[in-house]
């Protein structure tokens, strides 16, 4: 989408950068201007400079767009599958599942994302832009080949599931995508802003959830108050209200994973890499998690989920079977 000229006098400073980022993300100019005015007014009402209240303009613009897209994805309630786009590495239901559980037509197709609620017509945040591309990626540890020749493309507005047997290298592949592990061969192209949620660990046991928000917010350049309010808001989407004095080590396994998810999203990444993030979730939280994944997809984020649960695959637009590639 080509940004249209601003109505009226162009903004400068924080508001200008905020509006530019909204336009860059594909928001209609009128709506972008409206949101900019509302945001600056909100800052003025609290007698605080916008950058002190909201943090960097481009980050807040991304957060705002995500927050405006929190309604469940239409595909959850009413899947509208269409055939997967051509051959490729994506999973063919036959060989992977064999005679196993019948997942129906939801396995492997690209779901139609449908219209995104909340932002009106014309909103299309980067659907289709490539966020991650792996070509011929291999990983070896000494003489042992974990996997080889992995080709994978993940676009904005897509959820890709990586499946495979234990030990086939799913987590290693995800860590390669994040940049935490180097591939032995192949090339990786990736968007700069990435959020990574590990399978376990990744939190400091002696800090509270709010302190985690402060710590990771500082790393992302978010203002202190903005980091905390964003973290608490994101936690609320997972039906979790962090207790002010509860240390991370005293959280249940599922709640700690919620904290991990919030930390992965705190800096509004374009690409989310999730390594079996639902460990310990109860049924309600599990559903909240997938709603959240679809909200990210609707907001134009690319999401890669490592999973071994077959019923997760109905939520994915693409499935990559690493076991078959290894």
């Amino acid at each position: 989408m080509t940004p249209a000229p601003h109505r009226g006098k162009p903004e400068s400073g924080w508001a200008g950068r905020f509006e530019d980022e909204l336009l860059r993300l594909g928001l209609q100019p009128g709506r972008a201007r409206e949101l900019t005015e509302e945001t600056t007014q909100q800052a003025a009402e609290s007698a605080t400079a916008p950058d002190a209240l909201f943090g960097p303009a481009h980050l807040y613009a991304r957060h705002l767009l995500t927050e405006l897209n929190t309604a469940p994805h239409p595909a959850i309630a009413n899947p509208n599958p269409r055939p997967a786009p051509g051959p490729g590495p994506y999973l063919d239901p036959g060989p992977y599942l064999g005679p196993g559980p019948d997942l129906g037509p939801d396995l492997g197709p690209a779901l139609d994302p449908g219209p995104s609620p909340g932002l009106g017509p014309g909103y299309g945040v980067g659907h289709g832009a490539v966020r991650l591309r792996l070509a011929g990626v291999s990983k070896r540890y000494r003489r042992r080949t974990v996997f080889s020749n992995v080709d994978l493309t993940v676009r904005a507005g897509e959820v890709t599931a990586i499946v495979g047997a234990n030990g086939c290298g799913k987590s290693t592949l995800l860590r390669i995508c994040a940049g935490l592990v180097r591939p032995s061969d192949g090339t990786v192209h990736r968007t700069r802003r990435v959020g990574f949620v590990p399978q376990d660990g990744g939190t400091a046991g002696w800090l509270t959830a709010s302190e985690h928000f402060t710590l990771f917010g500082a790393a992302a350049g978010l203002a202190y108050r903005r980091a905390r309010s964003t973290g608490e808001h994101l936690a609320g989407r997972l039906a979790w209200r962090p207790a002010p004095d509860q240390l991370a080590q005293h959280l249940s396994g599922g709640t700690r994973q919620k904290l991990n998810l919030v930390l992965g999203e705190l800096h509004a990444p374009d690409l989310l890499l999730l390594d079996e993030p639902y460990q310990g979730f109860d049924q309600g939280t599990y559903l909240d998690f997938w709603r959240q994944v679809h909200a990210w997809r609707d907001a134009g984020k690319a999401v890669v989920v490592v999973t071994h649960l077959l019923h997760d695959l109905q939520h994915a637009d693409h499935v990559y079977d690493l076991g078959a590639a290894a």
Partner: protein
């Protein structure tokens, strides 16, 4: 700014580990009390115990953050923010501990060069923190790291001061300063101690940074 947040939260983390903190604070005291009758020895032992306590605490804090650090890097923090922040917090805590024990020594023993006694303790704390982080960088497992620090301190304590082995130990500077403080030696001891401490600090802090910069390096993947 990020380094300061890391430092503040690291200090808070350590502050919440009350038992570990109490053991760290009291460990030098036992060293001191066991040699209290011998004035010079008691100050030396106190300082050595403090060096061991601060370096061991740093080792555990740095190792305990291993799963968080890569995520902080991915989120946007630099290696200097992450490692520098922790070192700042633990060095600050070590200096506070050193000053506390300095007051104790002044009240209990009245050494001839009180300022030099304080310098000796502060310098030891300043060297001990990066020493602990360097050992943590080299030996990622806590048990191995703790044993390595124990070995270093044991060699430091037992090695004959004029020998090369004693000179190569990271806390040799406090032994030189101890001679200056307790035995009234000339200023040459003071300058050699300062030089040794500075070189040791540079090696430990620089080595820590280099190892973590390598370990926490992120590839510059091109945009698709």
């Amino acid at each position: 700014m990020t380094a300061l947040v890391v430092a503040a939260l690291s200090a808070r983390e350590v502050g919440r580990r009350r038992v570990a903190l109490a053991l760290m604070v009291t460990l030098p005291l036992w060293f001191y009390l066991l040699r209290r009758e011998a004035e010079g020895q008691s100050i030396r032992m106190l300082t050595l115990g403090m060096g061991w306590a601060v370096s061991a605490l740093t080792l555990f804090v740095v190792n305990g953050s291993r799963s968080v650090d890569p995520r902080l890097r991915l989120t946007g923090a630099s290696t200097l923010d992450v490692i520098g922040g922790r070192l700042l917090a633990l060095t600050g805590g070590g200096v506070v501990l050193a000053l506390g024990y300095w007051v104790l020594v002044l009240a209990d023993q009245r050494p001839d060069r009180p300022w030099a006694a304080g310098l000796m303790m502060v310098l030891t704390a300043v060297v001990a923190a990066p020493l602990g982080s360097l050992v943590a960088a080299l030996l990622p497992r806590e048990l191995e790291g703790a044993l390595a620090l124990l070995s270093i301190c044991a060699v430091q304590m037992l090695a004959d001061p004029p020998t090369l082995a004693a000179h190569l130990m990271p806390f040799w500077s406090f032994r030189e300063l101890g001679t200056y403080v307790v035995d009234g030696a000339d200023a040459g001891y003071l300058w050699r101690a300062l030089l040794h401490a500075a070189v040791t600090w540079l090696i430990c802090a620089g080595g820590t940074y280099a190892l973590f910069a390598w370990r926490l390096r992120l590839p510059r993947y091109p945009e698709p």
